[in-house]
């Protein structure tokens, strides 16, 4: 939609209208004319929410017959009227702080208000300091449209039904259209109004526990950089899993189709991003949560991981045999190569680490997989992710960090970090050879 100026010769300020280049619709058709090019939403809401009492040509003091009250076209007007009414009622019935202006603010700038403030000190017990002694009357309820009352009218309902009947389904608003329209009744497409664009901001993020700032973007609007940016991956171990096979000849495990009713082994590797060696303790419930509990065992739940020190330090200082092995293994971290039991004399054994490198360690994870499709035929169809194999794991990391005190080398301080992670291993496949589904 574009904003165009209307060509009216004798008009002092040329009004603007909205027009659509695609369908040739203009806002003139619904009688909407704008005074300015900008501030579209404010102008629109002014047009729609114009208070009844401001409407020219309407007698303000003519009493409304009570029974003819019906809802005017928009609740904004009702709200404004109701608010004004309640405000006057509150002011009448609660002789409130005399220092407040009618709008409710303390007015220090006006001389009369200042004089009143001063009179509080000079002559206490008279004038504004005195509370009225009469019994406070209750405020009344609104009794006319000007005061925000509107009655349920049969016409509204009748019109709505007739419209629904005549124009049918297409004239009603869809849920997504309604979600954007918060002026409440918008049953029909003719009630829809333009909605303002949502603005965006740059925001800083804080830790919810200690309120430490984690992310803070630069204040300049054009800049996309950050002043502070603390990412979790620089502080907590990276977790990586891959299947561990029983023999080198075995066909690789299809992670989208893990066979049920079998125990599968996986390698769970953790890589340490910190510059201190850490001790990791893993814990997992022995059955995964959910309707089908798969049985989970971590063969070695507690192990050490080396520091994320310079690669060359270790390479130069270590013995050649270890150097050769770790050097090769480091490259292999995250490598999709087939790993199998018995490889280089390694066995998946409880309490033993599978493989260890400079700043990473792998342990073996055993999952006894249950048949997902079994049982309760016709009870419920499985939810769409019923077959996903996910393990919740509680990771606890301990390390000794050096505390730098001012001037001199400080001692070591024990630090601890604990959190839950969810490991997604894959999907459980269907049992082969079952009849029907």
């Amino acid at each position: 939609m574009t904003v165009n100026a209307l060509e009216i010769p004798d008009h002092p300020t040329r009004p603007f209208i909205l027009s659509c280049g695609y369908c040739n619709w203009t806002s003139q058709e619904i009688g909407v004319q704008l005074d300015k090019v900008g501030q579209m939403s404010a102008q629109m809401s002014n047009i729609f929410n114009r208070s009844l009492r401001e409407t020219p040509g309407r007698p303000t003091n003519a009493p409304e017959p009570t029974l003819d009250l019906s809802r005017p076209d928009n609740p904004g007007t009702v709200f404004a009227n109701l608010k004004a009414f309640l405000k006057t009622q509150l002011n009448d019935h609660h002789p409130d702080n005399p220092l407040l202006t009618p709008s409710g603010d303390i007015n220090y700038s006006s001389p009369t208000a200042l004089a009143r403030i001063m009179s509080l000190y000079t002559n206490l017990g008279s004038g504004y300091g005195k509370r009225s002694t009469q019994k406070p009357t209750t405020m009344r309820e609104s009794s006319s449209l000007e005061e925000g009352l509107c009655l349920t009218s049969l016409n509204t309902d009748m019109d709505a039904i007739t419209k629904l009947r005549n124009e049918g389904y297409p004239c009603t608003t869809s849920p997504s259209q309604r979600a954007g329209q918060l002026h409440i009744p918008c049953a029909f497409t003719s009630d829809l109004r333009p909605i303002p664009m949502l603005l965006r901001t740059k925001r800083a993020k804080r830790c919810r526990a200690c309120r430490h700032i984690l992310v803070k973007p630069e204040a300049k609007i054009e800049s996309t950089r950050y002043r502070i940016r603390l990412l979790a991956r620089n502080y907590i171990p990276t977790v990586h899993t891959k299947p561990l096979h029983q023999a080198p000849t075995q066909t690789p495990l299809d992670l989208n189709n893990i066979p049920p009713l079998q125990t599968s082994q996986f390698l769970l590797s953790l890589r340490n991003p910190l510059f201190d060696p850490i001790v990791v303790t893993l814990a997992t419930p022995n059955r995964t949560p959910g309707r089908r509990g798969h049985k989970v065992t971590i063969l070695c739940p507690q192990f050490d991981i080396g520091a994320n020190a310079d690669k060359w330090d270790e390479a130069l200082s270590s013995a050649s045999a270890i150097q050769q092995r770790t050097g090769r293994s480091t490259q292999r971290f995250g490598d999709p190569r087939l790993e199998y039991v018995g490889q280089e004399g390694k066995v998946a054994e409880a309490g033993k680490v599978w493989e260890k490198g400079r700043n990473w360690t792998s342990v073996v994870l055993e999952v006894g997989i249950v048949d997902v499709d079994a049982g309760d035929e016709g009870e419920e169809w499985g939810s769409e992710d019923e077959d996903v194999l996910e393990l919740p794991v509680f990771v606890r990391v301990e390390w000794e960090a050096e505390v730098e005190e001012r001037g001199k080398e400080g001692g070591k301080e024990k630090r601890e970090l604990a959190y839950w992670v969810v490991l997604g291993l894959g999907r459980v496949g269907k049992l082969e050879g079952t009849v029907g589904s």
């Binding site: 939403s41 609740p75 309640l86 009655l151 049969l154 709505a160 389904y169 303002p196 499985g382």
Partner: protein
């Protein structure tokens, strides 16, 4: 252009909105308001303005409305749905064939559970999940719609007047802990609805999702509450049944209520639906469900005085030439356009809310139809309160948007009162009493009991004085009053700096939780002691109460 508009839209209100720092008590002496600069980056005017804003939240079983006090509508209304619980990076709903795949089939009592934030029956509710959902919704509201810092913002929370303490506690904890709110004021939604209708009293009929709550409010106090399970959930179920019947006529023979032979209405507990039907049925319910303004055949029976009667004639020709079927395109796999007779679309509402075609004596206590329940609520009130409440029927909630429902409820209530009067005794005994002249005539409405007094000049003068200030009471007739909704009520009250009964400070709540709340009577006693001059313990100063929710 439009992008800046939302900001400017907000700005003029800032001048009108009163500062909240002054409302808590009368300051002992006038003082310069202190401006606190929360950070060096923001300009002082911004922080000063931000400090004044009171936020209004309305939380229901299926939605959260968030906005700023003093505005006439919330900034956003967030709904809860199963799509919220997708994993990061799960873009399956955007696959073209995704809609066609069968999805989770729910047992009937769990139908629609994914779309609810909570249920009143806490046995199946995961409170941790509820907390997380609330947190996410509130965070989305702040970052996407309000664009405000949640810190230092007082909060007004409009809640249903009956909420399990566990739920209340988790709502409060979530907001206090995650959003650093300094204080929360609780308002009950029926009272907020009454405020938004401009009344002091009324019979609030809140047709919600899970249940319909009928509350009699007098002088902003709830005095009688009745509930029924007949609410939008039941209507949506009936609608799903209707759609299924028309989509697949062969299936109607087995499941349809028509074929079951008896005219008894059955809540469709034997059916279980694919959850895709839920969204479809709900959309159709929202868009096209309607309710005849008076029951079929009522026009012939009552030939006078019924309020709907007067209006019926002008619309008659329009109705006859209108098409008789509504065509509704179905988004579900066969994707055909359903042709449903227009009158059929009224059935779910009539069956679900008004229990049409059912013998009322067969219904359980918790599934009474709405008109009966409204009548029962009014009957339980003292006559003068009843007179005030019956002429302020405030029908609100999601169900109140159904075309024709408000008029129908007013009609049904009027005819019930005409039929029965205000006699708590019904049926045979009532008939016997009426027939027997010795036992006296049944009591009439409250208007018959108030005899006009003999007038003299002084009384007239006093009356005139009174009229200037006091209420012009309309009473004794059945009349519906429109409300702007609970959120708008909360917004009104908050913007008028009215101090709430239940004001919870962050520190005191986090120290003791809900257990720290005092009883309302203790609070009153404490303030009385203070007025007598006796110094009470320091702890009493920030005592708080749960008021209605205790």
């Amino acid at each position: 252009m439009t992008t800046a508009a939302g900001y400017f839209d907000r700005k003029p209100n800032a001048g009108v909105r009163p500062g909240i720092a002054h409302l808590q008590a009368d300051p002992p002496s006038p003082h310069t308001p202190q401006r606190t600069f929360s950070s060096t980056l923001s300009s002082p005017s911004l922080s000063y303005r931000a400090e004044e804003e009171i936020l209004v939240f309305e939380l229901g079983a299926r939605h959260l409305s968030v906005g700023i006090a003093g505005e006439n509508h919330p900034r956003c209304r967030l709904e809860f749905g199963p799509e919220d619980s997708r994993r990061v990076g799960d873009y399956r709903p955007y696959y073209p064939e995704y809609q066609d795949r069968p999805r989770k089939r729910k047992r009937d009592y769990r139908w629609g559970e994914d779309h609810e934030l909570w249920r009143m029956d806490l046995r199946g509710v995961d409170l941790g999940l509820v907390e997380d959902k609330i947190e996410r919704a509130v965070r989305e509201a702040f970052t996407k719609y309000l664009l405000l810092d949640s810190k230092n913002k007082r909060l007004v929370l409009v809640l249903p007047s009956l909420l399990p303490h566990l739920l209340l506690s988790s709502v409060l904890t979530t907001v206090f802990v995650n959003f650093q709110t300094p204080s929360i004021t609780l308002f009950a939604s029926p009272t907020a609805n009454v405020v938004a209708a401009g009344c002091r009293a009324g019979l609030v009929v809140d047709i919600g999702w899970d249940e319909t709550v009928i509350t009699a409010v007098y002088d902003f106090r709830e005095i009688k509450v009745l509930r029924t399970a007949r609410a939008m959930k039941v209507v949506t179920k009936h609608m799903a049944e209707l759609l299924k019947e028309h989509e697949d006529p062969s299936a109607a023979g087995t499941d349809g209520p028509e074929s079951s032979g008896n005219q008894e209405e059955q809540l469709p507990f034997q059916l279980s639906f694919d959850s895709r039907y839920f969204e479809f049925a709900e959309e159709v319910t929202m868009r096209t469900a309607w309710c005849p303004m008076e029951p079929e055949g009522a026009g012939q029976q009552s030939n006078d005085t019924s309020p709907a009667e007067k209006k019926k004639d002008p619309s008659e020709p329009a109705e006859t030439k209108a098409p008789d079927t509504a065509s509704i395109p179905s988004p579900l796999p066969p994707r055909k356009t359903l042709q449903i007779p227009f009158t059929k679309l009224a059935e779910p509402v009539e069956k679900g809310l008004l229990a049409l075609g059912t013998n009322i004596h067969n219904l359980d206590h918790e599934e009474q139809p709405l008109p009966q329940l409204m009548y029962a609520t009014l009957l339980a009130l003292p006559p003068d309160v009843r007179a005030v409440c019956m002429s302020r029927l405030i029908i609100t909630g999601g169900g109140s948007n159904i075309a024709g429902l408000k008029s129908r409820l007013v009609y049904e209530l009027t005819s019930l009162i005409e039929k029965r009067g205000w006699n708590p005794v019904q049926r045979r005994v009532a008939r016997k009493v009426a027939e027997n002249p010795k036992l006296g005539k049944p009591r009439g409405g409250p208007e018959t009991m108030l005899e006009p007094q003999v007038e003299d000049e002084i009384t007239q003068k006093l009356e005139k004085e009174k009229l200037k200030r006091a209420t012009v009471e309309v009473g004794g007739e059945v009349r519906g009053v429109e409300t702007l909704g609970a959120w708008a009520g909360g917004s009104l009250v908050a913007s008028l700096k009215v101090k709430g009964v239940v004001e919870i400070e962050r520190d005191t709540f986090l120290a003791h939780g809900l257990a720290g709340a005092k009883r309302e009577s203790e609070m009153v006693a404490a303030t009385q002691r203070m007025s007598l001059g006796a110094r009470t313990a320091l702890g009493e100063k920030n005592a708080w109460t749960l008021g209605n929710w205790a």
